[in-house]
Structures are given as structure tokens and as C-alpha cells.
């Protein structure tokens, strides 16, 4: 009796990437919403972002129907995992719980092979997407009020979240890059992220 919910987990680093991590969830959710999906987008409750470098999780859940189990603490089975800093591959089992055939999107200047060398359970992946998001978008302000339920002040999708979600649109059929461009503030970066992303099928 279990509902089909498409789970996304985004990993970001504390203080400097907290806002971009949250903006990535909002870009995906808003774009999917334009496409008629039912959406949830929120920050992990226990991963407090006010510590520089701490790994943080942000979540998106998308479904064709209204989501029934709305109140969850983590996404246990993410189909799409996005990491905003490539060194995160060494620190955590980021593919934990991924069903067979999922996708990984990485913000990196390195090649997919270099990243995959650090992932022992890479056989879960159908593909990996590498995009140099930090090269495509400038650093943005620090604002972690959103992780405590506050409202975003800065325009959503101005920094690295834009090219990363653009790149994710290449492997996720729940939202289109056109809709991401519509909802993002840095529309160029979304398109460039989509265009320059290297997708390697596994």
C-alpha cells in the first residue's frame, strides 16, 4: 500500500552552503510544482547549519499524488543525491538507501572517474553527473534562518544551486530545465549547468 514518492537528498556544507542547499530544494520543488507535481522541500531537522563545514542534508519529495507520509525526518531511499562539495564523498555513505538505478549529481572540477573512485557502492547508480557549479555561479550571502523555518530573503537560485539543479534536470524526469529556469534567479547559470554537465552512464 506504499505510495510512489520520488526522494531527493542534497548534501551541503555548513554555514557557507546552507542557503544554497536549501535553494536547491526550493528550485526543484517550485519547478516540479509548475509541472503539476505534489511537493515537499525542507531542511534536515538535526543537521544544525551554524558550524562551518558540517555535512548538512536537505530534502525534496515529489509525487504525482498528494503525499501521505508527510512527516518524516529523513529521506530513507533517495533516488537522486546531490552533493554541493565533492569532498563529501569521503565522509559519508551518501548512497545509503538508494534503490538500484539512482543518480548522483556532484559539484566538482574533477572527472566522474575520480569521484567514483571514492564510492564503494557505486553499483547502485545508473549515472553520475559532474558539473563545475562553483565555476558557473558566484558565492552568495550567508543566511541560515530558513533552516529554522524562516522565509528566504535572498533571491532563490542565485548561487551554485542554480547550475546544480540545471544539471540534475538532465537525469530527473520530475522537473524540466525550462521550469527550473523559470523559477531561478540566476537563469544563465541554470542553463549553463544543464549544458556543461558531464553525464556518465554506469
Amino acid at each position: 500500500m506504499s505510495q510512489e514518492v520520488y526522494e531527493v537528498t542534497i548534501w551541503a556544507r555548513g554555514v557557507f552552503q546552507d542557503m544554497e542547499g536549501r535553494h536547491a530544494t526550493l528550485l526543484m520543488a517550485n519547478a516540479a510544482d509548475l509541472g503539476g507535481q505534489f511537493v515537499q522541500a525542507w531542511d534536515d531537522y538535526a543537521d544544525l547549519p551554524d558550524r562551518v563545514g558540517v555535512p548538512l542534508r536537505k530534502y525534496v519529495r515529489l509525487s504525482d499524488e498528494e503525499i501521505e507520509m508527510r512527516f518524516v525526518y529523513v529521506n530513507n531511499n533517495p533516488v537522486l543525491v546531490m552533493i554541493m562539495d565533492d569532498t563529501i564523498v569521503k565522509g559519508l555513505n551518501i548512497l545509503r538507501g538508494m534503490p538500484q538505478g539512482g543518480s548522483l549529481v556532484v559539484n566538482t572540477k574533477r572527472t566522474p572517474e575520480e569521484i567514483l573512485a571514492f564510492i564503494p557502492n557505486k553499483e547502485l547508480l545508473a549515472n553520475i553527473v559532474c558539473v563545475d557549479a562553483s565555476g558557473l555561479a558566484a558565492d552568495t550571502d550567508i543566511d541560515f534562518m530558513g533552516s529554522e523555518g524562516g522565509v528566504e530573503v535572498a533571491a532563490v537560485g542565485a548561487g551554485i544551486s542554480a547550475p546544480l539543479v540545471g544539471a540534475a534536470a538532465k537525469v530527473c524526469d520530475k522537473f524540466t530545465v525550462e521550469n527550473v529556469v523559470k523559477v531561478a534567479s540566476n537563469k544563465d547559470a541554470v542553463q549553463k549547468g544543464y549544458d556543461t554537465a558531464q553525464v556518465k552512464a554506469l
Binding site: 555548513g14 543537521d47 563545514g53 569532498t87 565522509g91 559519508l92 545509503r96
Partner: protein, 110 residues
């Protein structure tokens, strides 16, 4: 006699009181907070112990036998205070992905 059955995975210590960590806290590994790590040139190092003194996470210590500084990959957060404070300039900052070792790989953040 209470009617309750406590499943194994829900057994917790009485009053939620735990033994306190003494030398390290393996329940709070922080090595995965860093994006880069300090790399030491042992030849240039004078064992002045500045890195040991200044490290906020006690990640440098002097190995008495080898007389060399030893770095703790499990807890170093990559703050680079040691690099900043080293008077011999024997510490440099290198991106973490340059090293196949030092993988923390936690199942969950904590």
C-alpha cells in the same frame, strides 16, 4: 511486574544516563567536516608543538618514539589554524580528494 515488552532496538540506559567519553568521542566523528587537510613536511618541522597547542580539536600530538608529529584524520575539521600558527612553515593545505586515505565514511552524520 510491568506488562511492557521492550524490543532490543529500544533499550536505553536507565534515566538516559551514559558513560562519558574520556579521550575521544567516536559518536561524534568530525573528520568529514573538512574539505582540505594540513600536510606536514617532517624534515622542516622543529617539533615546537605550536600545532598541538593551537589545534582546537587536539588533532596533533607528538609521537615520543618517532619524535614526529602525528595527525588525527578522524576529527580534524580542516580549520587550518595549525598551518597559520606554524613558525617553520612546514604545514601546507591540500584538498582532501588528493588523498585516497583518511576516508571516514559514516553511515549517518551522527
Amino acid at each position: 511486574m510491568s506488562r511492557f515488552i521492550i524490543p532490543k532496538h529500544l533499550e536505553v540506559p536507565l534515566g538516559a544516563c551514559l558513560p562519558a567519553p574520556v579521550k575521544e568521542q567516536p559518536g561524534m566523528i568530525t573528520g568529514n567536516w573538512r574539505t582540505e587537510r594540513p600536510v606536514i613536511d617532517h624534515e622542516a618541522c622543529t617539533t615546537c608543538l605550536n600545532c598541538f597547542i593551537f589545534c582546537p580539536d587536539a588533532c596533533w600530538h607528538l609521537d615520543e618514539k618517532t619524535e614526529q608529529m602525528v595527525w588525527n584524520a578522524d576529527y580534524c575539521k580542516g580549520c587550518m589554524i595549525c598551518v597559520n600558527e606554524c613558525p617553520a612553515n612546514c604545514l601546507s593545505t591540500v584538498n582532501e580528494l588528493e588523498f585516497p586515505d583518511g576516508v571516514v565514511r559514516l553511515e549517518k552524520p551522527f
